[in-house]
Every structure is written in C-alpha cells, then in structure tokens.
C-alpha cells in the first residue's frame, strides 16, 4: 500500500540490514510503525476514542437519557453542539457514550475470539491426526456460513444486549484466528529449535506455550488488529437493524439506523454518527495496515 513511501521503505530496509546490537525484532517493528505517519494518525484517533469512552461520564455535557421535550430534532446550536434527537436528547452526549460501546465491543469481542480461536487452532495444528481432522472439518463448516448472517441469527435468537454481542461475535469470529494459528503451528512445530527443546525434555505445555506459540504470534497479532474494526462494524450493523445494543444505551449504528429514516428533514441525526463510524473504521484500518507492514516488511 502507499502508506509507506518507497524511499522510506528502502531506508527502513537498509537500516534493518546491519542490525545493531540490542535491536530486537519487536523494537525494530515498533520503529517501523512509528515512522508510518498514517498508522500513527490512526493510533491518535483510536487513543482519542479510548479517552472519550473512559471519561464519557465527565465529558458528556448531558446524561445520555436526559430528554428535553421543548427542543426536539433541533440542528446544532450553542446549547446542543450537534443538535438533539427525536425525543430531545443531546446528540453529542449520546455520541460520546456511543464511543464507549464501540470500544468495548472492539476489545471485548477480540479477547473472546482469541481465547477460543488460539487454543483450538494450536491444538489442531500441534496434535494433528484425528483431532486435527475433526477440528478442521468443523472449522470448514463454520467458514461456509456467511459471517454476518450467522451473527444476526445468533443475536436475534439470544436477544439484544452487549453480553450477547460478545457471545455472537465470539462464536463466529474464532474461526479465522483458529485457521491462522493452526497454519502457523503446523509450520513451526517442524523447526529444529522445537526438536531441540523436545530433546532436552520439554513437555507438551512448555513446548507449545514457550516455543511454538510465541513464534506463531506475529500473524495472530495482525488478525486481531483487523478483528477490532470488524467487531465494531458488526456491532454497528446489528444495532442498525435493531438487534444489537438495547436502547436507551446509545450506539452509533443504532443512531444511523434510526436517523436514516429522517435523513431529509433532520440530517444531523444520521450524519454525525455516520461520520463517527467512518472515521473510527478508517483509523483502525490505517493502524492495522501499519502494524501489518511493520511486522512483515517483506510484504510491502
């Protein structure tokens, strides 16, 4: 991608070739990441959103449920910087709390996805044989499901709510990570250093936990980085059709879904949350691209 200019890329490569003492691979990657301006801009936006999410209670000018029936559907004004919604709630406050939902879903869902996907993938790849065959068959079937369709199915069966969103994304999202982990483990377990560790008597847990998994981490990190915006998108999409977050908790997706019906008369209802979603998704994508390029400079 054009996120790194060719001169910068070659400079990085030249700098990396005679690796000076004390530069670990991680530090090397971090330096490449820091030089990537788009990725850093993405990171800044993400940090900003995280701050909004954490300090929503302090930052929001009004409680997100406070209604003002004398000022419905107003455009941006001094009292209400982004206007008010259909029942007179402050849009800005609701958007700030919406950031909390998005961030929670992005991170929480990934934690669940990783804690299901990595063990299954690692087990499948490491143990091999019949276990592997069974697990890969299962993974293949799960893979055949259209992803979003499955999430919506699970959500409409479980009902709306943050916890259920975690469950729905967790149930479907682990498949990609499991595949990736399995492929990595398969390749790494044949390496000499694993044989070496086994030769000096390392047991199953130690081999997998200390020698195989840490070396399989890079692509997993990349999948997780891209999984966060994917989860945020999923929540927005679910809330958009009304099976995501329970009202009155604000969610950007739900605000867009509600607002797009009144787009002609009250444009602000829909436009501001739409911008929020777009900016968030772009920020995570830029950051994710940066992480991928930093961890695997060969791809560029």
């Amino acid at each position: 991608m054009a996120s790194v200019s060719p001169t910068a890329a070659s400079a990085v490569r030249l700098g990396a070739a005679p690796r000076e003492k004390g530069t670990s691979l991680t530090r090397d990657a971090l330096r490449r990441l820091r030089r990537n301006r788009l990725a850093m801009a993405g990171l800044l936006v993400v940090l900003f959103l995280a701050l909004l999410a954490i300090f929503a209670d302090v930052l929001a000018p009004y409680p997100y449920t406070k209604t003002n029936f004398s000022r419905l559907n107003e455009g941006p004004s001094r009292d209400y910087p982004l206007g008010t919604d259909l029942i007179g709630r402050d849009l800005l406050s609701r958007m700030i709390y919406g950031a909390r939902v998005s961030m929670l879903v992005g991170l929480g869902a990934q934690i669940i996805v990783v804690s299901i996907g990595v063990p299954i993938g690692a087990l499948s790849g490491y143990v091999g044989g019949r276990t592997d065959l069974l697990l890969t068959r299962f993974i293949d079937v799960m893979y055949a499901f259209p992803r979003l369709l499955f999430v919506i199915l699970v959500m409409s069966m479980l009902g709306a709510g943050l916890m259920n969103i975690f469950i729905a994304i967790g149930l479907t999202g682990w498949v990609g990570i499991a595949r990736q982990t399995r492929a990595q483990v398969l390749a790494i377990k044949e390496k000499e250093f694993v044989d070496g560790a086994r030769a000096i008597g390392a047991g199953f847990t130690r081999l997998l936990g200390r020698h195989v998994l840490p070396n399989a981490l890079t692509p997993i990190v990349v999948v997780v980085t891209f999984g966060i915006p994917e989860a945020i998108f999923t929540e927005a999409a679910l809330s958009f059709i009304g099976v995501g977050i329970n009202p009155p908790t604000p969610s950007w997706g739900q605000m867009v879904g509600e607002g797009q019906q009144y787009l002609r008369s009250y444009w602000h209802l829909c436009v501001f949350p739409s911008i929020a979603i777009a900016v968030t998704m772009l920020a995570f994508t830029f950051f994710g691209d940066g992480v991928r390029d930093a961890l695997d400079p060969k791809q560029n």
């Binding site: 991608m1 054009a2 200019s5 060719p6 293949d140 079937v141 799960m142 055949a144 499901f145 259209p146 979003l148 369709l149 919506i152 199915l153 699970v154 409409s156 069966m157 479980l158 009902g159 915006p229 998108f233 927005a236 999409a237 958009f240 059709i241 009304g242 099976v243 867009v256 879904g257 797009q260 787009l263 002609r264 444009w267 829909c270 436009v271 739409s274 979603i277 777009a278 998704m281 772009l282 995570f284 994508t285 830029f286």
Partner: protein
C-alpha cells in the same frame, strides 16, 4: 475435471446438512418460541391455543423428528408456510424476492470487478503517482467504511446536494444507481487492492521485461502479458465476493427500500420464523458453496498449470 466437479458437488450435501443442523440447533437451543406474542408486553396466548398452534406447525414433536421432517420436505423445495406471512409459503417468498437481490448483486458485482480492475491497473502502472493515490484512497474507504454509512453519504451527495437520483424505490433504472454503487464500493476496493498488488508483482517479472525487450507497446505489455497473469490470484476472490455481495445487500436493500430478500431475512430472524430462517440460511449457504465451486473450476481454465 468432470470427476473433480462431481466430487465437489457431492460435498455440497454434507456441508448443507451441517449448516442446517447448526442453524436448527441454535434456533431451538435459545430461549423464546414463535408462539410468543409478536408485540412487546402483549398478553400471551391461552395454553390451549398455543397447543393447537404447536400441533398445526408440528412444533409439538420431538426435535429430531422436526429436523427429519424439515429435511424430507426441503428435498422437494418445500419449506412450509412462513410463520410471519401466514398466507404465503416460504418457497414463494424466496422465488419472488431472491431474483431481485440477485439482480442488484450482479450489477454491483459487475461494477466492482470492472471498477476494481481499472483502478488496480491504473494504480500499478502509475505506482506512487496521482492515479495510485486516488485508487488506494478509494479502495481504503470502500473496504473500511460500512456500506450503510456509505449509503448515507451517497444519498446526501447525489439525492439532496445534487438531485440526480431518487433516495429509494425500485422499478426504474434511476432507482438502481445508488444501491448498486453503495453495494459495489466495498468489493471494488478489495479487487483494486488485489489487482494493484498482483500487477506490481507481475510487472517486475522476467516475461514482462521480455515482452518490453522485444519492442511491444505499453498497451500490449500491460493487457496481453501482465494482466493475464495478474488476474489469476484475483479470481479466487470473486466467488466468495459474489456471494457476499448478495448477503451484504440487505442493509442496502433496507435503506433504499429495495423489495429483495433482505427485508424478509431480518423480519424472519426477529419474528422467529423458523421455516423462513432455515430457507434463507440454506439459500445463502448453497449459493456461497456453488460460487466457490464455479471459481475453482474457472481457475483451471484461466491457469493451465492447474490440474484437477
């Protein structure tokens, strides 16, 4: 080749069976029932009425029995009556709405492929110059921004600011433009990204240099030598993408009021319309699997190095 195609087609049966089983399990393992009142807070039906309804729809039988009946009927494309649209059969609804979704999906897909290839080729041939940045930014926005958000921006731009196209509806070609573009932007970005990467690799290959060395014009080098080879990895994308354009379309259908399968899809889910859910999931699943098969077969035609 024929042998391979037949084997793959046969694989479709256990895959669909597994999908049906997973869907069935989720539907019945979760709390709630189609006999619950549709409106929130409404009085529940009397126990006798519930019992009669359960009997009528076969919901009183043990689960494995229900699943067996479903499979037996599904073989004859009989999915029963919709629980929500009581007077219409599921097969009827799917037969009338799926073609509309498919039509929209096909237009979007065609636009995505043509546009994606164009931008990808432009980006690769003008690497790190104007066209490259235009393509890459367009691709990034298309991939990253959800289509229901894109729809909002497109409506504001092309219906309100510049009133070129209607905000919704179906029937006239002017109604088709915005939903098609909305739906196409995401996959177009993916195709453009892949084409760019693939072209960049191919342009540096020895045979491209040979083509240049023997004095071919730029056009012949790019289109006859480079693109032909760059196209191979892109083809793998297209199968799942075509199916995804169909599934993703339902947000777009909701916003632009397109009378496709998407609307029924959401309503069936929230209304616990068991027969409809099963039919929709299996239709999409079969479609996805078939598209993958088509692509795998097409692969062999495009790349003669592949043998089945």
């Amino acid at each position: 080749m024929l042998h391979y195609a037949i084997r793959r087609l046969l694989w479709l049966v256990p895959t669909l069976l597994a999908m049906a089983l997973v869907t069935f399990t989720i539907m019945h393992a979760t709390p709630g029932s189609p006999l619950d009142p549709v409106a929130e807070g409404a009085n529940p039906l009397s126990p006798e009425a519930q019992k009669n309804l359960a009997e009528h729809y076969g919901l009183d039988k043990p689960l494995y029995h229900q699943f067996g009946i479903f499979l037996w009927k599904a073989l004859r494309f009989d999915f029963g009556n919709s629980f929500v649209y009581k007077s219409r059969t599921v097969a009827e609804i799917i037969v009338t709405t799926f073609p509309i979704s498919l039509f929209l999906g096909t237009m979007a897909f065609a636009l995505a492929v043509v546009g994606g290839l164009t931008f990808g080729i432009l980006a690769a041939t003008y690497q790190n110059r104007g066209w490259d940045y235009v393509s890459v930014s367009l691709a990034t926005v298309g991939v990253a921004v959800p289509n229901f958000v894109l729809a909002v921006f497109l409506i504001i731009l092309f219906s309100f600011v510049i009133p070129l196209f209607p905000t919704g509806g179906w029937g006239h070609w002017r109604n088709w433009v915005l939903p098609t573009v909305t739906l196409a932007l995401g996959p177009m970005g993916v195709v453009a990204r892949f084409t760019r990467a693939s072209m960049l690799e191919v342009i540096r290959a020895d045979y491209t240099r040979t083509a240049r060395a023997k004095g071919l014009g730029e056009r012949a080098v790019i289109f006859r030598h480079a693109l032909k080879n760059a196209f191979i990895p892109i083809v793998t994308l297209l199968g799942p993408m075509f199916a995804a354009v169909g599934t993703g379309s339902f947000f777009v259908e909701a916003i632009f009021r397109v009378p496709g399968m998407g609307k029924f899809f959401v309503e069936s889910m929230t209304g616990r319309d068991y027969p409809m859910i099963m039919a929709v999931v299996l239709t999409y699943g079969a479609f996805l699997a078939l598209m993958n098969l088509v692509v795998d077969l097409a692969y062999g035609f495009i790349d003669p190095r592949i043998r089945y």
